[in-house]
Structure formats: structure tokens, C-alpha cells
Symmetry: C2
Subunit: 412 residues, 2 copies
């Protein structure tokens, strides 16, 4: 049965998450389906940044490290993220970038499995996860192997040679989602450790790191956590591993007594040794606003709406875009997919630029993927309805077929 635009509007009226949209600074002439690349701006962020800059940095200057608790921000914001990803207090900290955090954790994992030589990942993993492993392996003298298998071959490839299983929970391109609990169980059964990259799941759905018995995790602050461009990342180390966890990036703020200025490194207890340099306070304050907003929502409701948005998108494309050479590149089953829908098209890049020119912002992922992300705190059912309508218009008109839309920008 065809869903009409009126039906989509009715779904929005019935949506308990609908009031969250007004908490974000989104223009009415834009349909933003790229919150999985850069989350939208919470309306509360500019005022918080202005206060931080003017009253804390400007007026209280260096004293703010104590009186405004700047020194605790990485832990305070980390614990808040922990509530979104099923991590206990004291097991998450905000620091550095996802890539740098991957380096710390992969190195720590290899040190905990000195007799094993394989890092197992999937060929479709986000490149930085693979690159960081490659760089570390080269640094360690090429004694380890990064073994890449197809996404659905991961479970079967976990054997006694594997030191670390390195996976992204939800694939950046296809949206394919791993079964965190099951793969973690298989890794542990083989004596391996596991590291989950939550870039495309933290804030988008319930995640249960502790319940899944995960060892390590990293994630991104600027996607579903709405922390702003280049927001700092986070990392998780299970409590049971914190006593044996050693980060190779031994910076002064990870020292047990940073202000003793001892020339010899001695790691701080717990998650604190994963901190390296001085935390980026402006970015941390912006990130906290995004996370506070996410914490107000029920993540089960977020997930439910995300799946409903995705199903509506696919239904509408199936109905209205047949014959335009779009191939669904995401899993069709809800339980195998994150919060996005992707289609392959040989002219994916130009089509996405034409869509963006019409105010429907998704993104393109090489070689041929049109990616549409759903962020239930601000994506409406009518947005999905209108987006597919625009997609059909762009395809039917052939308006994407012009040089301006084929010219690749620096950032695609």
C-alpha cells in the first residue's frame, strides 16, 4: 500500500521523538540525511561555547582548570557517553581522534596477546581502522599480519592465531551491522580480544558494551553525538582490562601525578592512562551539549524510529525509482543494519551532487554509493518522503548529467 505524504505527516504527528527536532538549528529548506558524517548543530551549543570562551577562558583564565573542572571534562563527558553505549562509569574517556585511539588500543591488545600475530578485520572496514593497524604493524617490524576477510566471513575466520578482532559495529558504507554479542563471544572463545569501532552506532541505537563483554571500543564525537566538526573521539577499556592495559602513547596527562613533573612515566590508574596531552576544552564543551541532548532521548525509541524511517525510504524508492539502475547496497533486514540506507549507482557521485543542489543532503562514498543517514532526533518521516520524491525527480529528469555535478570536490 502506497504511503502518501499525508501519511508521512501523520507519522510525524504521532512521533514522540518529534519535539527533539526543534532543539537543532536546521533550516526548513534542507533535508539533512548526513548526520552520520557530521551531526547537526544543537541550538544550545553556541551559548555554551560563548560562555566557555568568554567567562571561563577569557575571565577566569588558567584558574578554570580547577574552578570550572576542565581537568575532569574528559572523564565527565566520557561517563555520559558510557550511558549511551552500555559502558560502566570509569570505562570511557574522551581523547584525541578515533584514529589515535585505535592506535592506543590495538597496541595494547597486541601486548596482551604476545604469542599471537594476527589482527583480524574485514576488507570493508573503514579505512582508518585498517591504516592504523598497518602503521602499527610496520612500526613493530612487520611481525604481525592484518588479515582481511569478507564481512560475512569474519565469524568463521576467528582462530587461535588471532590476537585481536578489529571491527566496526555498523559499516560506514553499507550500514551492515555485526552482532556484537555473538562475535565478541566467538573472539573470546578463541582466546582473542575484540575492539569495536562505534563510529556509526554510538547515539544511533542502544549499544551494550558491558553486556556484550566487549574488551575495547572507540567512537566518534561528530556523527550521532552531534559534537561538531572534528569533535574529539572516545575510547572504552573494560574495567577487567584496565589493570593490564598499557597505552603506547604515554603523555603527561596520563601520568599518575602529572603535576609532579617526574621525568619517569608512571601510568595513572584506570582509564586515565589513555589520556595523552591536554584535552581540547572548546571541543569537549561542544561535544557535551550534543551528548546531553542524546541522553534525554530513549535509545530504544531512537532505534525504532530509525528503522521505520529506513523502511519508509526503501519502500518509497522501490515504488517510485524503479528502472533507474539503483541497487540497494544495505542489508534489507532490520537487525543487520544500522541507521542508514545505501544504494549503488554508476553515477552515484553526480546524482548526489544534484540532490544536494536541491537541498537533500546525503553523501557519496566511493566507488558508487549514495548514502542516506537517518538521525531520529531530527529526521522526520516527511523528510524521507520528500527526499525520495526529489531523488526520483533527479533521476527522471537526468539533471545530474552535467559537468558541474561530476566535478569531484576535495571532500566527497
Amino acid at each position: 500500500m502506497t504511503v502518501t505524504r499525508a501519511d508521512a505527516l501523520a507519522l510525524d504527528r504521532a512521533d514522540k521523538l518529534a519535539p527533539f527536532r526543534d532543539r537543532f538549528a536546521l533550516l526548513d529548506n534542507v533535508i539533512y540525511l548526513d548526520g552520520n558524517s557530521l551531526g547537526a548543530l544543537p541550538k544550545a551549543t553556541p551559548a555554551r561555547l560563548a560562555e566557555l570562551v568568554t567567562a571561563e577562558w577569557g575571565r577566569d583564565l588558567i584558574r578554570s582548570w580547577n574552578i570550572h573542572g576542565w581537568i575532569d571534562l574528559p572523564f565527565r563527558v566520557g561517563d555520559k557517553i558510557g550511558r549511551l553505549i552500555g559502558a560502566e562509569p570509569g570505562s570511557v574517556v574522551v581523547a584525541d581522534s578515533t584514529s589515535v585511539n585505535l592506535f592506543k588500543l590495538i597496541a595494547a591488545a597486541l601486548r596482551l596477546r604476545p604469542e599471537r600475530r594476527v589482527i583480524l578485520s574485514e576488507s570493508e572496514n573503514f579505512p582508518t581502522d585498517l591504516y592504523i593497524a598497518q602503521g602499527l604493524i610496520a612500526l613493530l617490524g612487520d611481525k604481525h599480519e592484518l588479515r582481511l576477510v569478507a564481512p560475512d566471513a569474519v565469524a568463521g575466520a576467528i582462530d587461535g592465531d588471532v590476537a585481536l578482532v578489529l571491527l566496526t559495529h555498523v559499516n560506514y558504507r553499507s550500514g551492515r551491522m555485526h552482532d556484537m554479542e555473538e562475535v565478541t563471544r566467538l573472539a573470546h572463545a578463541a582466546g582473542a580480544l575484540i575492539l569495536w569501532d562505534l563510529a556509526h552506532s554510538a547515539g544511533a541505537m542502544p549499544v551494550d558494551l558491558a553486556g556484550s563483554n566487549a574488551d575495547f571500543a572507540v567512537g566518534c564525537g561528530y556523527k550521532y553525538l552531534n559534537g561538531g566538526p572534528g569533535a574529539p573521539a572516545f575510547l572504552y577499556v573494560a574495567h577487567r582490562l584496565q589493570r593490564v592495559f598499557h597505552s603506547p602513547l604515554t603523555g603527561w596527562l596520563g601520568h599518575a601525578a602529572p603535576f609532579a613533573f617526574d621525568p619517569h612515566y608512571r601510568p595513572a590508574p584506570g582509564i586515565a592512562s589513555a589520556i595523552v596531552g591536554t584535552p581540547p576544552i572548546l571541543s569537549l564543551a561542544a561535544l557535551e551539549i550534543g551528548i546531553d541532548l542524546a541522553l534525554e532521548a530513549d535509545l530504544a525509541a531512537v532505534r525504532k524510529k530509525s528503522l521505520a524511517l529506513a523502511r519508509l525510504f526503501v519502500e518509497r524508492v522501490t515504488e517510485s525509482c524503479a528502472g533507474f539502475d539503483l541497487t540497494l547496497a544495505s542489508p534489507s533486514r532490520d537487525d543487520e543494519r544500522g541507521s542508514q540506507i545505501c544504494y549503488a549507482h554508476p553515477q552515484g557521485y553526480a546524482i548526489m551532487q544534484a540532490l544536494i543542489a536541491r537541498g537533500v543532503i546525503g553523501d557519496f562514498r566511493a566507488p558508487d554509493i549514495l548514502r542516506f543517514g537517518f538521525t531520529p532526533l531530527y529526521t522526520r518521516f516527511v523528510d524521507v518522503w520528500d527526499a525520495v520524491d526529489t531523488l526520483r525527480d533527479v533521476l527522471a529528469s537526468g539533471e545530474w548529467d552535467q559537468p558541474a555535478f561530476k566535478q569531484r570536490a576535495a571532500v566527497t
Copy 2:
């Protein structure tokens, strides 16, 4: 001849840098002598951040990476820093923290000197420089040695075993300054590489990396560059080394084609391979404001005023604080000192807290150092005069001797 307060005011009236003070948001009831820990807030920063957040992130969203040139910010701001430190365009990039950048460069240096096993530094170096070297050495299997010698023994200790000389140009505690050109020459004569940490010199005085033939450098954005708390750091790789430079932190944005999403790492040419993850745009924008301001000033004039401020400080302490157990802990010669003056006192911590309570903000560095930093863009001669007056009052009254001033805060 005693300098009176009227003399100090006359020096300010004659100071060509004096107009810069009004470009910073400083209160009149505070004398801020801690710009070498956290630089003051430029008045232009809040508006730039508001524009970035509201118009770029909020309105233009993901498109800002291209249309507002976010992707180029690390290079654009890096080149601006380059003009402050004598580095050619394309040899400086803003990324990560000083600590993380040290890791990249120390690892790269060891790779370039595979037959050598020693990293030479000084026992008084800032701890993170030493800690990062220690962490890397442990990661590489303890085949290297971090050899620490007294500051004045560095030159004599550079021998054929040394792979890398790792020094901070201006010491964080004493203000002691190395002769960059001479130590670099000695390092190269012994076949070693050299890495300069410019945390306490970039923006405080003329630095000439290229003219000194330096190999690598790192530096901090939140001290004399006034980039804000936890501002990102920078790193320098001499052009002649960029073709053989390999960072072990091989993140996706250091890839030759990050948006090709190739599973195999291939470094970007030039300095770009020193980038790891997504750059922190909010912090970069704030940093750029501080640097633009520094670029307006003549660094030779900045250095000249810095030395005059320091001399006035020492003269006044010598005259008015005799008998209070203060020991000058900085070199007395101008050419051996950065932009700060330090005194040792057994009760240094409490004395500094009492000074801060009176609005004179310097800082304390364990075990016993009172540190006073001079930032010629906003420190006035009368500030120095008044600061020493207050110091004498605090010492003469003994008001520092109370529990509230002895209780150590989290950040000292």
C-alpha cells in the same frame, strides 16, 4: 637606580606594542603572568567561533568541508605558524596534541637512524617529551635508550650513538634557552637528527627553524599562540626530510587519497601524511585568530620587550624582596632565557596561591618554582611593577602561611 611606578607607566606609553593589549579580553583587576600556560583570549575569538558554529556548522553543515575550506585549515594555519618560527610554507601542519606529534616525529627519526639506539635529552625536559620517548621505546621492545643528561651537558653528550637529540628550546620551569643553531649543528655533525619542542618559544620570540637547519619540531597552540585551552598543536618536518618521513600514526586523512577509501595505506605527499584523523575545526578556528594576532606584531620587538619586562622584574625583586628566601631559578643572561622569570622558594606553592588571590596570576611548578611569564602583546611594564609590589607584600605579611593556600588543587 630605582625604577618607580611612574617610570613603568612611561615605559608603557613609549611601547609600540602597547596597543595590542586592547585586542585581548583582560580584566583590569588581574595581572596575568601565565600566558605561557594558557594564553589570554583575543577579543576577536568569540565572534569567529560564533560565525563558525552558526553559519558554517549550523547552516552549511557537511558542505562546509569544501565551501568554507575546513579541509585545508590544518595546512593554512600551519603555514601561518610557519611564519612565526622560520619554517617554509608546506613544512608545518596543525594536528593532534604536542605529545601525539612528538610520538610521530620520534618514531620517524628512529626509523631514519636504524643503526643507532640512543635518544638524547635533558633531565629537565618537559615530562611529556620524555614520557612519549619512554612509551615508544617500550613499544619497540626496549632496544633503544633514552639518555638524560643535565641541560648544560647536552652539547658534550652528542656522539655517534645518538639517533635523535630531543630538546625543548625554552625550558618550561627555568626558562633556560638552548642555542638552537649551535646544538643543531652539533647534532648533525655527529650524524644525529634533532627535534625541537617550541612550546615556550613559538610566538614569544623569533625562531628560525629553517635557518638553524632543524629537522623536526613540535609546538603548542595554547600558550603564546593564544589558541585557547587544549588548542591543537603543530609539527614541523623540514622539506628535505619529507620524502623519507614516515609517521607511524597512519590515519585516513594522511592518506594520499582519503576519499578513495582504499583499504591499503599510502601516505600523502609532503607534510600531509602527518595528519591522522579529522581535524578539530572549532579549535582550529580559535587558534587561527590567536595566530593572526601574533602575525601582526614584529617578533623582534616582542622579544625586545619580553627581555625588558624580565629585567624589570628581576631588578624589582632584587631591590624589594631581599631576605625573603627567593632564589632566582632562571638564567640571568638574556640570551640564555626565554620569556619568563622563575624563583625557587620552599613555600612556592602557597606563595603563588596568595598572589593569585590578590589577582597576580603566575604559576607554580613542582617542586618549588614560582613562574612568571611575560607575553609582550598584553603584559605591561606597570603590570610587572605592580606584580613585584604584590609579591613583596605577600612575602612581608606572611599571608601565604595559611591552610587555604597550602591545599593543592588538582591542577597546579
